[in-house]
């Protein structure tokens, strides 16, 4: 079932616009973007629990977490509330530094994904915070190898964002065994503890 839904979605993306901007592709997709944005923007603002985030809406957070878990092999123990907050803040800051068009593409992607209809059409039947990792893996596989460049671009841009943002988090750094800067230089650094796990 889910495969055919994904196929349906893929087939209906206008492949003839061999233009590599995700945003443009989304605008041409079967999911009316305006509807997605209208549908999502109101509750998102109402539910805003993290006012310090500039680009990421509360409804985007479960999407990012779901993709991060599957893509980087993380679990709930890694993503404690505290680590999750730092991780999402890192994603938000990184998005702030990205070129405007890349940021716009990512926001469009998140807005599309948060729309239940499009999530369902991509083969992920449950809400993002309960989604089956297998569904997400299948979705990612389809995006990467389904032959539509823009979907691959969308996932790979998202992945880089997630990876850098996660490996900026002290607990993730600690997991790599990286000990921080050598002892010899530490006394001279404006050392705020973030340099090492």
């Amino acid at each position: 079932m889910s495969v055919s839904r994904r196929e349906f979605l893929s087939a209906s993306w206008d492949q003839s616009i061999a233009f590599s901007f995700l945003g443009r592709a989304i605008a041409y997709s079967t999911v009316p973007l305006a509807a997605a944005q209208t549908f999502c923007s109101q509750p998102a603002e109402a539910a805003s629990t993290a006012p310090s985030l500039k680009y990421i809406q509360p409804l985007h957070v479960p999407i990012l977490v779901a993709f991060a878990k599957v893509s980087m092999g993380l679990d709930d123990q890694d993503l404690t509330e505290q680590n999750k907050t730092v991780f999402i803040a890192n994603c938000d800051q990184l998005m702030g530094q990205a070129p405007e068009s890349v940021r716009a593409d990512l926001i469009l992607l998140f807005n599309l994904l948060q729309f239940p209809m499009s999530r369902w059409m991509m083969g992920v039947s449950d809400n993002w915070d309960r989604a089956n990792p297998k569904d997400i893996t299948a979705l990612i596989t389809n995006w990467n190898y389904g032959g539509i460049k823009i979907l691959r671009y969308g996932y790979q841009s998202l992945l880089s964002l997630l990876q850098v943002s996660w490996y900026y988090v002290p607990v993730a750094i600690a997991g790599t065994g990286y000990p921080g800067p050598p002892e010899s230089i530490r006394p001279y650094l404006d050392f705020n503890g973030e340099n090492s796990p």
Binding site: Q97, A98, R152, E194
Partner: protein, 536 residues
Amino acid sequence: MKLPDPYKDEAAKSWNIYDASRFTEDRYFEADVVIVGTGSGGGTAAEVLSRAGKKVILVEEGSLKTSTDFNLNEKEAYSTLYQDGMTRLSLDGGISILQGRTVGGGTVVNWTSSFRTPEPTLNHWNSRLRIKDHTVESMRPWFEMLEKRLEIATWTSPNTNNQTLLKGAEKLGIRADLIPRNVKGCWNLGYCGLGCPTNAKQSMLVSTIPSALKSGATLIHNLQVNHLRSNGHSVESVEAYGRSERRPQVRIKAKIVILSAGAIGTPGILLRSTSIPNPYGTAGRRTFLHPTLFTFGRMPDEVNGFHGAPQSAYSDHYQWQDVADGPIGFKIEATPMHPAFASVIIRGFGLEHRQRLNDLKYTAGFLALLRDGFHPDSPGGRVQLRPDGSPVVDYPINGYLLEGAKRAVLKMAEILFAAGAKSVHVGHFQTGDYSSWSEAQKGINQLAFEPLILRVGSAHVMGGSAMGPDPRDSVVDETGRHHHIDNLYVMDGSLFPTSVGANPQLSIFALTAKLSHQIIGDGKIYLDLPNVSTNH
């Protein structure tokens, strides 16, 4: 405890430094020379022209960060010292591009490898691209001077990561050697990419820019040049704005305008400057990136590739076999391995990716730079403007490059096994952990070498405002002067008509030193060299 920081010295109090993000009103400046961009090219030109007595203004869109600010934290360094917080991509996302954006440009974050422009490159420019002024012979004294100026010498204490490259190459009978670096009293920490905290790295930030400031130059940072205004023959003013919410406008008038904003920034300014003639559409064309591939080996013992000078060994064994007519050549080097950076170049999905990151301490990392721009099938990319006016390079990755990418990845894997790797994985989304060379060959040959799932990076942006004799295929002449605008020069990596075929900083230092001396034209040397009184 504090280490010396030239910008915090008593003497620095008399330097003319402005932070344009603090301008509360629009401003106007005048000078003999305005230099846009303070990296390898801009920094070098600033020293020469200021010491020759010109009134110089240096403009930089990044902010002034100095050794006291460098705390070796990846997040802080990438977000304050790099273009787009290190998220810069080519148009279709296929190549992630690292460039500096701070006073000192790329030299503040680069890995200190200092190669002369390879002779085959200069010969190719001469024989095929009709570059007559910058030959092996005429460039030699400039390389020698810049090597002296920036303390460039072969680094003889390679870290384990670089030793792995030397060891594997030796086992296979592949030529490999040590790299000269621009350092003075280097602590061998390994953080050149995050800003050197000891000022050992002889970046423009601590060498030529202080020297220009001492000679009376003015530095304006957090000032982004939008465009140049010209009357069709000369530039009348440089139009810029301060990087703050208020966006104060700044106009600078100067007799000479030098663009040194790097090989994406300089073509970007030219394209935004609609009054600068571009009759053949050459601005932004033929941009080269040394498209870069990655391969990793799980070694039996700790490698700790995040510590120790990041690059100190290389192999050119596969670089020059057929300069212009055959398959693409590549240079192999080591890569630093700090966690966030490694998390992006190390590939894979889910737990596999996590395991590879968990093995970071034991992982040796190599990269291969493809020598683009020499063969007709390697036309490079093109800088264009996004709707918001920001420059982006469209660089299609074609079959010619992908063939070289596969060969490069295979060779790096072979070297890693020869050096004793227990397993190898490559910078490809579908990579396996191959436990023998034969398994790796089989596995790598089965991978789809396609953009985006293959990690392609670049830290060397070149071309786009190429020098050359013919305005139909170049932007400036061999003196760096714009073909159509008398008082406009380009002095940065965008001058190169192909990629360099080696890490480019010394090529840029030497060429821009030569060109800025030509502007003065009195035969004297104005680089801050010990005991120089020679004419050239």
